[in-house]
């Protein structure tokens, strides 16, 4: 019998406690839960208040050193292709054209003074595939490939997830290719000429 009344008492007390808690939360809904960080002294004191974030309009800022969307600073890219080989899921696609000797100045140098020897007409990163492992960024010799703090880059069309970083237009690419081909044919012709001369000299 005492158990019976004990149960009723426990029921009444626990219901009252629970209702007290929900009512406290109900009245605390007039203000937002504080935004103190984990290292803040008040972190565990800010239990009450609305905690919903109305996402597209309000965001928690990502840390400055956060590693999310991959970005290539193409001005510093020397087109070495290390990243393409390092990527475990092959999300980087790259095409390079050798720079003609008289174009070296036009192609320019990286920010730390290294002469770029490749045009990079195609540098495509499929960010839909990218798993932000960061291997490509570690192998990059000029540190031009890095993860940015941009975390939300959702798209309605999947093809928009393919990011193009190439620094040449189609016409330019065509021109550079032709130039290189000309130089190469020239060089080849010269080489053959030299070889023929050498043969002639040998005969003599």
């Amino acid at each position: 019998m005492s158990e019976y009344f004990g149960n009723i008492k426990t029921g009444a007390v626990t219901i009252a406690t629970g209702m007290g808690i929900t009512l406290k939360h109900f009245f605390n809904a007039i203000h937002r839960k504080g935004d103190a960080g984990v290292d803040d002294v008040d972190y565990f004191r800010q239990v009450d208040g609305l905690c919903t974030l109305q996402y597209p309009r309000e965001v928690i800022p990502t840390p400055a050193n956060a590693r999310y969307r991959l970005y290539n600073n193409i001005d510093d890219c020397i087109g070495c292709g290390q990243c393409v080989r390092a990527c475990p899921i092959s999300c980087i696609e790259m095409e390079t054209i050798k720079v003609a000797p008289d174009d070296m100045a036009a192609c320019g140098k990286t920010s730390d003074g290294q002469q770029k020897k490749f045009w990079v007409p195609v540098f495509d990163i499929d960010v839909a595939k990218c798993m932000t492992c960061g291997i490509c960024t570690t192998v990059c010799p000029t540190e031009c490939l890095y993860h940015t703090p941009v975390a939300d880059f959702s798209e309605f069309d999947r093809s928009n997830m393919l990011y193009h970083f190439g620094n040449l237009t189609r016409l330019e690419t065509e021109a550079k290719r032709q130039k290189l081909a000309e130089i190469q044919t020239k060089a080849l012709a010269e080489k053959e000429k030299k070889a023929a001369e050498a043969r002639l000299e040998k005969k003599d």
Binding site: M19, T22, H25, F26, T52
Partner: protein
């Protein structure tokens, strides 16, 4: 006990301010020989249910539950999401009215109707104001308790007609629950009827009016009156299938219980019936124990708060406010307590509420006979 005290301080209406004046005037209103006034009397609670469930019922509950859980609730449609319910209704109206191929077509279609009619019929005897009551029956309270039992038929028809195991489980649970909880609920209300000495809803209200406001309410009528009040409140939760007694719906076990197969407007009707009966039990508990349309404010000397805040319009305000307060408590409980198990539900009904209801019944009877 004051009798027939209808304050004259309210806004004068063409129909007069005396007891049941508005509803009597409406009942006598004929157009082209048709009793149009009677239709209007029936339409008023219907419009009220629709409006209140649209605003307070759905939007209010979503907001209240959100705030209790530190969320924001609907925020996108309109400012603070106030148009969310309109958007929901537009969606419901456009939905295809599906009747499952293997369902019992007749029962499936008729179920929600019976359910709604069951909860709506009790509105006939709810005095919305001193001057308005649908049907001034001298057995109003008895009618209100009895007619609600029709809901069980609707739930069983819906559950059985759906030809779905979850629906059937939900319906069977609901029937067991409602039939069981009607006993403590009825006995608790009988305590109120004993204190009043009548079953007439308007007379119960009149008996609770007086210049001391809330002190005349039956809740403070006897030292034991809080017990039937509490018992009726708990039992009424079970009768309208609200949490923690929502095992007929039990969304985590039974998908949606007896209305699993319903969609579109039939679902909306079931929803409306639930909100209708929520207000109905809240109104009954405020009529029997908290003075119905009487103002709770007392007259303090020359500041006649009670006289100023009584009258037909004030009466409607008070009874709706009291009803909304109890609906808030129902929502508050819903977002606080977990659902009871079936055996716990029956334990609570038969081993706790029913004996205590009998005790309070006997004590109230003793108090009524030997009160000083």
């Amino acid at each position: 006990m004051s009798t027939m005290v209808i304050s004259q301080f309210s806004i004068p209406f063409l129909m007069g301010n005396s007891l049941n004046a508005w509803s009597d005037a409406l009942a006598g209103f004929y157009l082209f020989g048709l009793p149009l006034g009677l239709v209007i009397i029936a339409a008023i609670p219907l419009v009220f249910i629709a409006l209140y469930s649209l605003t307070y019922g759905v939007y209010g509950e979503r907001k209240i539950s959100a705030f209790m859980q530190d969320r924001l609730g609907p925020m996108e449609v309109g400012k603070w999401g106030i148009l969310q319910t309109i958007a929901d209704i537009l969606k419901l109206l456009q939905k295809e009215d599906i009747v499952p191929a293997s369902a019992d077509k007749f029962l499936f279609v008729v179920g929600p109707g019976i359910l709604f009619v069951g909860s709506f019929l009790a509105f006939a005897v709810l005095p919305f104001s001193p001057a308005f009551i649908g049907a001034s029956l001298n057995v109003g309270l008895f009618f209100a308790i009895g007619i609600v039992a029709i809901e069980v038929v609707g739930i069983l028809a819906a559950g059985w007609g759906s030809n779905n195991k979850w629906s059937l489980y939900g319906a069977v649970r609901s029937v067991a629950q409602i039939v069981s909880y009607e006993i403590p609920a009825a006995i608790a209300l009988l305590c109120g009827a004993m204190m009043a000495g009548t079953l007439d809803m308007q007379k119960i209200n009149i008996l609770q009016s007086g210049s001391y406001g809330f002190a005349h309410f039956f809740l403070f009528h006897s030292p034991i009156a809080w017990l039937p009040f509490l018992i009726y409140f708990i039992a009424s939760l079970a009768e309208v299938n609200r949490a923690p007694f929502d095992i007929p719906e039990a969304e985590s076990e039974l998908v949606a219980g007896y209305f699993t197969e319903y969609s579109g407007m039939k679902f909306a009707v079931i929803f409306l019936a639930e909100y209708g009966s929520m207000f109905m039990v809240s109104a009954i508990i405020s009529i029997v124990f908290l003075g119905g349309w009487n103002s709770p404010l007392p007259n303090i000397g020359s500041v006649a708060l009670n006289d100023w805040t009584n009258g037909p319009v004030w009466g409607a305000f008070w009874i709706i406010t009291k009803g909304f307060f109890f609906i808030f408590v129902q929502m508050w409980l819903r977002w606080t307590l977990p659902r009871l198990r079936v055996d716990q539900l029956m334990y609570l009904c038969w081993k706790v509420l029913t004996p205590f209801a009998f005790i309070s019944f006997v004590l109230t009877a003793v108090w009524e006979i030997y009160r000083p």
